[in-house]
């Protein structure tokens, strides 16, 4: 059994920020991660992090309040406003802190941090490091973790969590290099495991983003919030769905269809290409669906007019991506793009202090749902979310430990039971000789989600998806992983994660079916209007014997009365 006061699951930005906070407060903490922390998906964030620093010449009037309002409006009023106020209020401090720790931000000529325009924002508010902002922030936080000597257990997948009488007890993790389980025992735990994008076939997410942390919490009985809100990023590379940053449009890139029209004129004349992501993604998908896309089904993102110098200086990484993966140099040719799954607004339900309803259990970053993004996250707010709430979770866990926490009395016995269940499951996976191949059902699930629970949704398709998922769930009882050998066994970890993916897909789809309105990223063709009277509320899902049960909770509104969103 491995013991630390605070266990942090996930080594991306949120997890590392939590660890740095707890460790610098003198607490014993450790990070458990599926991959080396620098391989976490935070690394792939490109465009930037929002903070109203007012550094840009045309951004001098920006303020925390304006950032707060833009975020709430962008969320289509489902964000909890007290939490958004905290996030935006902390933004300048957090960005300065990362700069003091060495983050190499791009600069304006006067030496201050450069800021670029981003979707749904009234000012150039997005601080950036060319188009590799996630990369530099993750490296910077990892550097701080190395400096503080934070212990990392890498290449471990957490497969289950024990909760007893409302208290966190411990975790069971599969060590990927030995195929053995390890018990992790702690007084507090922070989940920072990222999103569930890989439940979808077409996603910008890293292959590791299976939502495993959210699923582990769900299976331990923790409330899961707003899972039906799934962000589709407007500009993903045709063919591979690799992200092409919103910063490309922030720098002046334009979208055009097969006729060469800048079609955003018809969808969001005020903000054009820099409308919020849900609106731009629907516009692109509509162009493609109505036959105005280019052959194969995509539209063009044109950067040519920015010129070689600006592209090389501000967007070098997406140029490399376009060249490496699509044989397309954006200096000479428009980039073929289309929308794909990108971000998980929903997740483990927390309050504005990153606390879940379980004592000693916290969650932060994309795996959590505070909610600060509501139904649609603004670009540049996810990096901010990870660092602000990672820090808050670290503080919260430290505070919890110093307080009079109560541990479940029979912790060791509970964890031994949990381990036994995991061992039995493992044995079944390793010895089963006949069944349904894992790859087959997994691909079927992903296809179903992309085709039927995508950008545009409607009752018939959602119902089809629900029955498909139920069918797959029953097939998964005979999951076959094939012949592996001892030593590194990644396939075994995939099998454990797959069960969780099925659960999450079920919650997303059933939640989407029940929500008979359109709001932000959730668009129902059969209910195209937002319905505040019935649906200005969060969806809360919990595990029961017969699948998820749903209830709804109030949205916290402080100063901004819901209004119709216009861009």
């Amino acid at each position: 059994m491995i013991s630390h006061d605070i266990l942090i699951v996930g080594g991306g930005l949120a997890g590392l920020r939590a660890a740095v906070e707890a460790k610098s407060k003198g607490l014993d903490c450790a990070v458990i991660s599926k991959v080396h922390p620098l391989r976490s998906h935070s690394i792939a964030a490109q465009g930037g992090i929002n903070a109203p620093l007012a550094n840009a010449p045309d951004g001098r009037d920006d303020s925390i309040e304006k950032h707060t309002f833009d975020t709430i409006k962008g969320s289509d009023y489902l964000a909890d406003q007290d939490a958004v106020e905290i996030m935006c209020g902390e933004a300048p401090k957090i960005v300065y802190e990362m700069e003091h720790w060495g983050a190499p931000f791009s600069r304006f000529d006067d030496g201050r941090i450069a800021q670029r325009p981003f979707g749904g924002a009234d000012f150039p508010r997005t601080c950036y490091a060319a188009d590799r902002t996630g990369h530099v922030l993750l490296h910077t936080l990892y550097e701080q973790a190395v400096k503080l000597g934070i212990k990392v257990y890498e290449e471990r997948t957490v497969v289950s969590m024990s909760v007893k009488d409302g208290h966190f007890a411990g975790l069971i993790a599969l060590n990927l290099s030995s195929e053995e389980f390890e018990i992790f025992e702690g007084k507090a735990c922070i989940f920072a495991t990222g999103g569930y994008g890989r439940v979808y076939l077409k996603s910008t997410n890293a292959l590791i983003n299976t939502g495993s942390g959210v699923a582990v919490c769900y299976r331990a009985g923790v409330a899961i919030k707003d899972l039906e809100f799934v962000q589709f990023h407007p500009t993903c590379l045709f063919g591979t769905n690799i992200l092409i940053t919103e910063g490309a449009r922030g720098e002046g890139g334009t979208l055009s269809n097969a006729k060469g029209e800048r079609f955003m004129q018809r969808y969001a004349p005020g903000k054009m290409e820099l409308a919020p992501r849900d609106i731009v993604a629907r516009a692109i998908q509509t162009e493609i669906d109505e036959g105005r896309g280019l052959e194969g089904g995509y539209v063009n993102l044109d950067l040519r007019h920015l010129g070689k110098k600006k592209i090389l200086e501000r967007l070098p990484a997406i140029r490399d991506i376009a060249i490496d993966f699509a044989d397309c140099d954006p200096i000479n040719k428009p980039i073929p793009i289309l929308p794909a799954q990108h971000y998980s607004m929903g997740g483990i339900s927390t309050n504005e202090k990153a606390q879940t309803e379980v004592n000693g259990l916290f969650a932060a970053g994309e795996c959590a749902c505070v909610s600060v993004h509501g139904t649609n996250r603004l670009g540049g707010n996810s990096l901010l979310d990870t660092i602000v709430f990672g820090k808050i979770a670290g503080e919260g866990a430290a505070h919890f430990i110093k307080g009079s926490q109560k541990a479940p009395a029979d912790k060791n016995a509970i964890l031994a039971d949990e381990l036994k269940r995991a061992e039995e499951k493992k044995k079944t996976f390793l010895t089963r000789e006949k069944g349904v191949p894992l790859t087959e059902i997994r691909d079927e699930l992903r296809k179903t989600m992309t085709e039927k629970v995508g950008i545009f949704r409607e009752e018939r398709q959602l119902k089809d998806a629900v029955s498909k998922i139920e069918e797959l769930k029953s097939e998964a009882k005979q999951l076959l992983i094939g012949k592996t050998d001892n030593g590194v066994n990644q396939t075994l970890a995939k099998a454990f994660e797959f069960e969780g993916m099925l659960d999450l897909a079920e919650i997303i789809t059933k939640g989407a079916l029940q929500r008979t309105e359109s709001r932000g990223s959730h668009f129902r063709r059969d209910y195209p209007k937002r319905d505040d009277e019935r649906w200005l509320k969060h969806t809360i899902a919990r595990l029961t014997e017969s699948g998820p049960s749903f209830e709804y909770s109030k949205v916290k509104i402080t100063r901004y009365e819901p209004k119709e969103r216009k861009y």
């Binding site: 991959v35 060495g102 030496g111 590799r132 590791i208 991506i321 490496d324 396939t491």
Partner: protein, 240 residues
Amino acid sequence: MAPYIFKILRFNPKADPMPYFQEYNVELEPSDSVLEGILKIQDEIDPSLAFRYSCRGAVCGSCAVVINGKFNLACRSLVKNVKTEEIVLEPLPNLEIVKDLIVDLQPFWKAYEKIRPYLIPKVIPEKENLVSPKEERAIDNFINCILCACCYGSCPVVTRDEKYLGPAALAKLFRFAGDIRDKGHTDVLDEIDIESGTWGCDTVFKCVDACPKKVRPTDGIEALRRKTVLRKSKRLIGVK
């Protein structure tokens, strides 16, 4: 779809006496990456095959591997660009094999930690430090490093001297020593003023060739040497 043969070095130290090559026939689109080929093998043919992967977009540095003798990330090598129907995959050299294409990166991370890979700030201002675009550009190339260890695997000095810090760690040291906001990492410069540190490099640019992110570690190492010599000469004439 077109047929490809993946010839992959297999080795499970827990079971195999020696590494060996195993061939797999895979149908792939020419625009698929080598990583997609490996994933397809793991998914459909041989679930026991082991390799690291994560972002599949050439930023996380997990899938560094040797493809037909050349260092690259498996995700950014499209099979059509490999230009042979037989694709030979080997793990990074200079590191022990954990299993198949997975190597033990501990020596690489130890070298990285040794150079104190974090900013040692001169001051902590109220807002941000002011950095001119020119000062920003001085270290810009080294910021691109994703620590994939291609350079470490390619370096002949690492092969010869296992104590040598290797290209990535030294380039990272220059990233800090050359950062206008940093005190200069002078203690580390003094500590590694030895053959297995600043002076080990043969300047044969293998690392520059191997880097999938266009980082030029050799340039960083040369800059460290200039800094070290300058510090010594200043000391000789009594300048602090």
